[in-house]
Amino acid sequence: MKIEADFSGAADKPFELTEEERAMIDGALSRYLHMDEADRAVLINDIELTGGFRQFGYGSLIGDPSSENDKEYGGVAPGWEKGAFCKDRHYRGTPESLGVTMGALPTEDGTGGLPGVIQEINAGSDDGNFANRVLKNIKDFALRETSLNPIYEYKVIDVETTRHGTVKGLVCAADPKNPLYLGRDGETLTIEEKAAIIATSKGVPGASPRNTGMAYWRDHVKCCELGGFEPDENIQKLVGLAEVYRAQLEHDDPKLFAELVAIEAKNAPAGAKEGVTYADPVYDVAMVSASADPRRVLDLRNGAISSADLLTDPLSSADIRQINVLKTELEAPTMH
């Protein structure tokens, strides 16, 4: 369905962007986040209707916003779910050996809900520089999400909150058209194959404090538990399986095991146990081990590499040149 922007009621809106500001924000959403016209129109209309710009984080964005914000609050996106839906060529994998990371998709039956956090900037606390702050937010978001690991499409979705009603949030969604798309368990890889990749993958050195697949997914489960989010059974099972495979890896490939554990130990804060970023995982490894595939982790990993072609960077040299052009633009100071 095509949604046209309707600015005719601008006089009734609490915040009115100038034509120039509207074009600036629309241009940034198009150029840096490649958002389609309908979603751009919905987002810009919402900025004017509410005087606010909101992102919805359900993964690492929850505790690590891409930009400064004015306010954060919890919410649930009805009809959406998260999972290991995307390949990763930077943070949890490399262009030479891709990893597996989080994405969100609409649920197949339209039920359920994705818990997360809204991060909002608003015109109310601003000194007339609101449009430029929105632009900076979009650019910071793009620099983090699209400049090295362009796996998502950016959608505007409804998020239900306790005290702020239903708000619209900009969200990173898994994109079935993207060559870095993996999909739900069984779509390209089984849950066991994804777990084997998570247990054995590492990101580009220095790309992230959670620089192995295992550290990222462990942290995610722990953060959701601390945050009181409804446990996601698929993710709990996936990470539990990955723990089993990681333990197997010590025997199957001691060198790789030692390398991954060393990366995790280097990034772990003081007081954390070996291999765990800051706390024990909450899933019961003994429980999931009963359902683990009896094949060795390296067999599973090799099967996954073969089924999902994880040793081929899907980005062409032309894609990478284009990404580098955008990255240079995004890193340049904003002059307005």
Partner: protein
């Protein structure tokens, strides 16, 4: 008067309140909650809820955490509605000094904005 609770890993909350006391003297209704990494999450939640109760004299409580990306930040996500408190991440001494000064005359919302703005303003880069 709005109560204040500081939650963070290990000795940070207590050390911060000791430093605060050195700067502006002993304060009422200010409570530290140190989190040990090995503690169970439910026990940590109970400790925070108890601290909020202790700090509250009826005008509300503002909670400060070491970082929104720390266990304290995540734990607060799970109990902020139950505790009915607003949370400020990235606590620092300048923001605490400012809220101590103005907590008798502000609403929780105004005090939260003030804390955030003062905390941001206080982070500066000085070079030789």
């Amino acid at each position: 008067m709005i109560g204040l609770v500081v939650v963070g890993l290990d000795v940070l909350p207590e050390a911060m309140l000791i430093a605060l006391q050195c700067m502006i003297g002993k304060q009422d209704k200010v409570v530290a909650v140190p989190l040990a990494p090995s503690e169970e999450a439910d026990g940590q939640r109970q400790a925070i809820l108890k601290a909020v109760e202790l700090a509250d004299d009826g005008d509300g409580v503002l909670v400060f955490v070491d970082s929104m990306a720390s266990p304290a930040g995540y734990l607060m996500l799970s109990i902020m509605e139950q505790a009915d408190v607003d949370v400020i991440g990235g606590v620092n001494l300048p923001m605490l000094c400012k809220v101590i000064e103005l907590r008798h005359e502000s609403s929780v919302e105004d005090l939260a904005k003030l804390a955030r703005d003062e905390g941001r303003k206080a982070i500066t880069w000085r070079t030789p």
